[in-house]
């Protein structure tokens, strides 16, 4: 019987330019280097049993990424971060690990929203505030996009759960739903800067949290251990 572990990690600095798939391959190698007893699928082409949470766009940083790993035998969970960290490239750091019970729903299923810090390049603070207020005051924010060859119309407003200005710099703190229709940070920026003549781009983007919500209560798939604080990581960028 395999044991399943959930690992929480950060992705900061230059390595943010790797893709979700790149990071998956980095993890496969890191787990092998750490000589952890990862379980493999059966069959002609055995693969390590890993499952990742919501994909993070190439170029975005994160303080809350997750993966679930099946191990062929139990592992001392306390030792996992120390065993993995030397095997990971600079910019990927294990923050927490825990055993999870069999049957725990997948990360993709349970995560309902994410908190993002989004730098918006091109607006002054006053203009950005105005746009944020406009966005929050709107009843609906309808966007049209092409999907599988068809034009699809969506209202993004229900997925913007909270939106505020950060104290420093042209940055937003936003909680965006991931389902049923999720909103990506780039879509939020596009909505804020949708007037003709707007020359605004998304700057640094960092996912601060992923949230599971059940009956109104919000919690992280794996909270950080008490000794860890977010602030130093959040400010120090590995690049």
């Amino acid at each position: 019987m395999n044991s399943r572990y959930r690992i929480r990690f950060s992705k900061l600095g230059k390595i943010r330019f790797t893709s979700h798939r790149d990071v998956a391959r980095v993890w496969e190698r890191a787990l092998r280097r750490a000589a952890l007893p990862v379980a493999y699928t059966e069959g002609f082409s055995p693969h390590p049993k890993l499952s990742f949470g919501l994909a993070l766009s190439t170029g975005h940083e994160s303080l809350g990424e997750y993966l679930d790993v099946d191990m062929a035998e139990p592992v001392d969970v306390e030792s996992i971060p120390a065993r993995l960290d030397p095997c990971l490239p600079i910019g990927l750091d294990v923050q927490a690990a825990a055993e999870i019970v069999p049957g725990t729903p997948s990360l993709q299923q349970v995560v309902t929203s994410c908190t993002w810090r989004i730098e918006v390049v091109g607006f002054g603070p006053a203009e950005l505030r105005k746009r944020v207020e406009g966005c929050l005051g709107a009843d609906s924010l309808v966007v049209t996009r092409q999907r599988k060859g068809h034009m699809v119309t969506d209202d993004l407003r229900p997925a913007i759960l909270s939106l505020e200005m950060m104290d420093v710099g042209p940055e937003l703190l936003a909680e965006l739903a991931t389902q049923p229709r999720g909103v990506r940070p780039s879509e939020l920026v596009a909505v804020l800067a949708s007037r003709p003549g707007d020359e605004v781009v998304e700057g640094h983007v960092c996912r601060l949290h992923q949230w599971m919500s059940t009956d109104g209560a919000r919690e992280e798939p794996l909270p950080l251990p008490l000794r860890a604080t977010l602030a130093p990581h959040a400010e120090a960028r590995a690049s």
């Binding site: 230059k14 390595i15 330019f17 790797t18 893709s19 798939r21 790149d22 391959r25 980095v26 496969e28 190698r29 890191a30 787990l31 092998r32 280097r33 493999y40 002609f44 082409s45 055995p46 190439t58 170029g59 095997c87 490239p89 600079i90 910019g91 998304e202 700057g203 690049s239």
Partner: protein, 633 residues
Amino acid sequence: MTSIWTQLEPLLARVQKPARYIGCEDGAQAPEHRSDKVSWLLAYPDAYEIGLPNQGLQILYEILNERTDAVAERTYAPWTDLEALLRAHGLPLFSVDTHRPAGEFDVLAFNLSAELVYTNVLNCIDLAGVPVRAAARDPEHPLIGAGGHCTYNPEPLADFLDFAVLGDGEEVVAEITGVVGAWKRAGRASRADVLLDLARITGVYVPSLYDVDYHADGTIASVSPRHPDVPAVVEKRTIADLADWPYPKNQLVPLTEVVHDRLNVEVFRGCTRGCRFCQAGMITRPVRERPADQVRHMITSGLKRTGYDEVALTSLSTADFSGIERVVADTAGEDNVSVSLPSLRVDAFTVGIAAQIQKARRTGLTFAPEAGSWRMRQVINKLITEDDLYGAVESAYSQGWRRMKLYFLTGLPTETDEDTLGIAELARRCVEIGRRYHKGASVTISVGGFVPKPFTPFQWFGQNTVAELTRKVNLLRDALRRDKGVQLKWHDPKATLIEGLASRGDRRLGPVIEQVWRRGGVFQEWSEHFDLELWDTAMSDHGLSTDWYVHRHRTEGEVLPWDHISAGLHKDFLWQDWRDALAEVGLPDCRWTPCYDCGACTGYGIEHIVASATPPAGGSQGTGQLVFLSGAR
């Protein structure tokens, strides 16, 4: 300015695959630059995912960084999207290790593995902020060098390269570092001084120190050194024993997907099977095997360090490695590790090897019969019989493989339509054998147009025209139309034409390459960027005939553009081998049979290093089974 990272960073958010440009690989180095060290920027003039795995570049990267008098970083050709942004923002080509501008290095050294990258070389030099023509450079500009197989005919790039290196780079980079270091200490006054000193190093060719004269018919009259100290013929470099060079010790592990994304361990260098179309087999002689214990150690430590679950045992013909079955048996299956053998001769591929390599995961299997008939394979000296091929294919299917890839060449000397159609027949028979084991068995046939290469017996042969190659591909397409189990792929004959042009061209092609580059012709080895019209226009603008360069048969007496370069091979050996080819006479493998004095060993006082005195079982050539000896020898 030592790093352009802060300017580069915002641009990376706007390009495809930005991980190409960040470095940060496991094994990457951030060397400390100092004025008393010679700084090398090792460049692969193609996209990162093609260039990163290059073993030659990685070996030199480590050797140079281990030295106290040198540092080395890497760069790759930026894709067109980043190139446009770099130019728009006035940013230069940079190293991926510390993001240092390319123009700040002492030496910018290119790996030339394929001819179609030549325009990328010019693009990289230009992006580095260096004049593309060597004659226009000042002492403060980096020295522009090149190594790799294409430098055996460096002439098409003669206008752009300060120097080219022939043969194994392991030792010669130290000597080049010494010369460049002395020049720096002496105040880096004149470029001519350092070039002359470089030309005195064995294995280093400085094109600007040679004059070329032509006959009225366009052929070369003579190539002569312009200085008494410069050798009339530049000899290649060869390391005597691979055991002395267990590199790379810290193979780079990329963060993003690249070709050959696995641990690569070079098990031997050189090959004397003597396939007449194969330049690599001719110019890298003799065979130098790595000791089996060193191979095992490099596999074990490499897998542990990198976390890879696949190792490729690389060479020009890996099944010939002495004791290959034991090395594979010791590696495959252990901890889900799979082994891939990228260059497999069918006559040495046994059920034993097949059973071993499929223990973890079945890696892709590729065999290269190269030609469709026994007659044709005698001409090219690839002496594998149909039974060898069917035996290998049966071994693979019986061990669970359901598909495999077969490589063929078309446009070979003396090829008839019967020979070409033999490819279809072989493919069909392979599928039949496969169907005995699996309902869905299939083969992929990959057909490339043959490009004659310098320092091969076929260097005198006039390449097939685009029309002829296209006709042959169509013959095969028609023949295989009803064969559902056979998938046919072919290389674009138009790209083959330009490969042929650069392969045997001379220095008069310099302005052509420059014009193609100036008009935007980069990444020519990528089908979406290849543009024959650019080449056609440039050739006619400079009064040159592609037909003359590519399709013309050369005669014995003609001075070839690379005659002042030596791969150790005697020209009369190559000519005799060419005559033997036309007479359909094979030549045995000299590692297991007496020497026939091609020149590669005798000329340099070195010899084969082969652990086993007997050839691998089941072969045809040099195995005692079927040896076709030339009567003349």
